[in-house]
């Protein structure tokens, strides 16, 4: 499998504080890569560097074959990103949001129309096409935000705690969407606090205090730490954290 993300000692300092310290890992194409860690461990910082939103302090990384220092705009053309903060426009309708984001990614109008119909069908939001996004329940909004983040068929999508505050049923549906995207060959890079979700990933990395402390498949991690589930693995690693959660 070809790699789509490669990092080598990728580091971000804010003054004296090292938010992400010498991260080195690879993500393969089509993989669902879980990026775990306690609050304040440096997950979001690492993700923002890979998305071209934040310049690294040192180290190297390529995303979809492009350099994170010099080719951020090329990276942006090839990735999707769903931030922790809800990022659709509340005062636009469902289909207007799809149209807008597809438009600024440079899709043609006929392509946008086809894509909108397809997305609405997948999400079963046909009736809500003309509903303002602020009137949708949170779970629907999250699913819509995910679909919008991959509207331009990127090769990688970064999801920053996409299921925060969502009920278990909707979370399950959300992961169905993630699997569907992965089946199409989209690489999924996802952070989460739900350990059941960690089990869904092909491989998982666990960050503690800005450093990657463990990286393997959930099965191997459980074996290595002699744990029954990912929750125990996470607890084993994260309880030694010195950094205060934010």
């Amino acid at each position: 499998m070809p790699t789509v993300i490669t990092t080598d000692k990728l580091t971000k300092r804010f003054g004296a504080f090292i938010a992400a310290n010498e991260l080195t890992f690879e993500v393969e194409k089509g993989e669902i890569f879980g990026f775990l860690g306690a609050n304040g461990a440096g997950k979001t910082t690492a993700m923002r560097m890979l998305c071209g939103l934040l310049s690294p302090s040192s180290g190297a990384a390529t995303v979809a074959g492009f350099d994170v220092y010099t080719q951020t705009e090329k990276i942006k053309q090839n990735i999707g990103y769903m931030s922790q903060k809800f990022s659709l426009y509340d005062d636009l309708t469902v289909s207007e949001n799809i149209r807008f984001y597809a438009g600024i990614y440079g899709m043609s109008i006929p392509a946008i129309k086809t894509k909108t119909t397809q997305l609405l069908e997948e999400l079963q939001l046909q009736k809500e096409a003309k509903t303002l996004v602020k009137e949708l329940p949170l779970g629907w909004k999250q699913k819509l935000a995910f679909s919008v983040s991959i509207v331009h068929d990127p090769s990688i999508v970064f999801l920053d705690e996409p299921t925060g505050g969502v009920d278990p049923v909707t979370r399950r549906q959300f992961w169905d969407l993630i699997y569907a995207a992965a089946d199409k060959g989209v690489t999924i890079f996802v952070t989460t606090h739900y350990m059941d979700e960690a089990e869904y990933c092909n491989r998982v990395s666990i960050m503690v205090d800005g450093v990657i402390s463990a990286l393997d498949s959930p099965a191997k991690l459980k074996e290595q730490y002699n744990a029954h589930n990912m929750e125990d693995v996470f607890y084993e690693l994260a309880r030694n954290a010195k950094r205060k959660a934010d």
């Binding site: 071209g52 990022s87 438009g103």
Partner: protein, 403 residues
């Protein structure tokens, strides 16, 4: 280019859906434009005057009639004692006391000169200054009247001058004809030079004609600088800007997408303002509307650039608001809306030259009142364009998609 289309589509949808924005952008300024010029009027009316007439002659009577007929003065008292008049000034029943001395008529006829005495309550500076000046003009006029009526070519010039004191008690003296020493006799007319002034472009010194265009600029300024800044900062607060930053969108398209909608709103607001000026104040621009609108677009380009620049430096709407207020207050006080830029010290004038509103107010007054054309406004319009270019370039450079 295609990106811009989607950006504009989105902005206009959001603006049109937001009734709050439409209200603050369009209705509030119209109300302000109707109300503010009523206050920003420097012509003084209803100055209360108390006359101490010690003469009781036809000439003194005629003088009083002339004063009250001018429309500026209201006769609130007519007494025979100066102290009584001063009491009225002290009790705020009169702004000015005019004392006509005994034998005013007789001495004027015989000696060709007689002094009048004016005491002005100078607590309200503007009223005192202008009131004194109006009264002087009337007396000078009256002086001339008498000469004509007597058909005497006597050139005795009346050279009154007021000097309002700080309090009512420090009254000033006015001489209706003080310099009559060595006045030539009535039979030998001497040539005299009189300077007269006429007010061009605004012959009746109608302050509204002068103020309405400037106030309209103030309103357009506030809209342009603040709303464009708020709009971007709002996207920062809601987090949508991050979603934009993670797309391959070009920065200049993004900035243009934010600028054009407010440019359009600015043009609508300006047009409404011109309509209000016409309907309520009867002001019809003398100059070419094309010149006016071309200048407006250059001006909005500069002011929206400022708003966008402020937005790149603010993380919250509160920060943007404080920054915008800082600039707008300075612009309003220093750009020649209320006071003349020419009377500021040189270094202050140099600073004001970098304020886009100072140039646009100038253009507005030139085009609206005087009918100036493109060739007359080359300097201010170029200055605005240059300032706008600097601000917008700065805004694009300071807007970072990657931090």
């Amino acid at each position: 280019m295609k990106t811009l289309r989607f950006l504009l589509e989105k902005e206009f949808r959001q603006i049109l859906r937001n009734r709050q924005i439409l209200r603050t952008l369009l209705i509030a300024p119209v109300i302000q434009l109707i109300l503010l010029p009523l206050a920003a009027d420097y012509s003084v009316k209803n100055i209360s005057i108390v006359v101490v007439d010690n003469d009781h002659s036809p000439i003194s009577q005629r003088l009083i009639n002339k004063i009250t007929a001018s429309g500026h003065f209201r006769l609130t008292g007519y007494t025979a004692s100066y102290n009584e008049a001063l009491t009225m000034v002290e009790q705020d029943q009169a702004d000015i006391a005019l004392q006509i001395p005994t034998n005013f008529e007789r001495d004027l006829v015989r000696e060709n000169a007689k002094q009048l005495f004016i005491a002005v309550n100078a607590i309200e500076g503007t009223k005192a200054n202008l009131g004194g000046a109006y009264l002087n003009t009337i007396i000078r006029d009256y002086n001339a009247d008498i000469r004509i009526r007597w058909q005497s070519p006597n050139p005795t010039a009346a050279a009154p001058a007021t000097n309002p004191g700080a309090t009512p008690s420090t009254a000033s003296t006015i001489t209706a004809a003080p310099a009559s020493h060595g006045t030539p006799t009535a039979n030998t007319p001497v040539p005299q030079i009189t300077a007269t002034s006429s007010n061009w472009y605004n012959p009746y010194l109608n302050f509204k004609l002068y103020m309405v265009p400037a106030i309209l600029v103030v309103l357009v300024t506030a809209m342009a600088a603040m709303q464009s800044a708020f709009n971007i900062v709002q996207e920062k607060e809601s987090g949508t800007i991050e979603q934009i930053n993670v797309t391959p969108i070009k920065k200049h398209w993004f900035i243009l997408g934010k600028m054009i909608p407010f440019l359009v709103l600015g043009i609508i607001l300006f047009t409404l303002g011109l309509l209000v000026g016409w309907l309520f104040y009867g002001i019809i621009p003398v100059g070419n509307l094309l010149v006016l609108y071309a200048s407006l677009i250059v001006y909005l380009f500069a002011m929206l650039g400022l708003g966008l620049l402020l937005a790149t430096y603010s993380g919250t709407q509160q920060q943007a608001m404080s920054l915008a207020f800082f600039f707008i207050n300075i612009f309003n006080m220093m750009s020649g809306v209320f006071t003349a830029i020419d009377s500021m010290p040189g270094w202050a004038q140099a600073i004001v030259a970098t304020f886009p509103p100072s140039h646009f107010i100038k253009i507005m007054r030139m085009v609206v009142l005087k009918g100036s054309g493109f060739s007359d406004i080359v300097y201010p319009i170029t200055a605005m364009a240059a300032i706008g270019l600097v601000l917008n370039t700065w805004a694009v450079l300071n807007y970072r998609k990657t931090n």
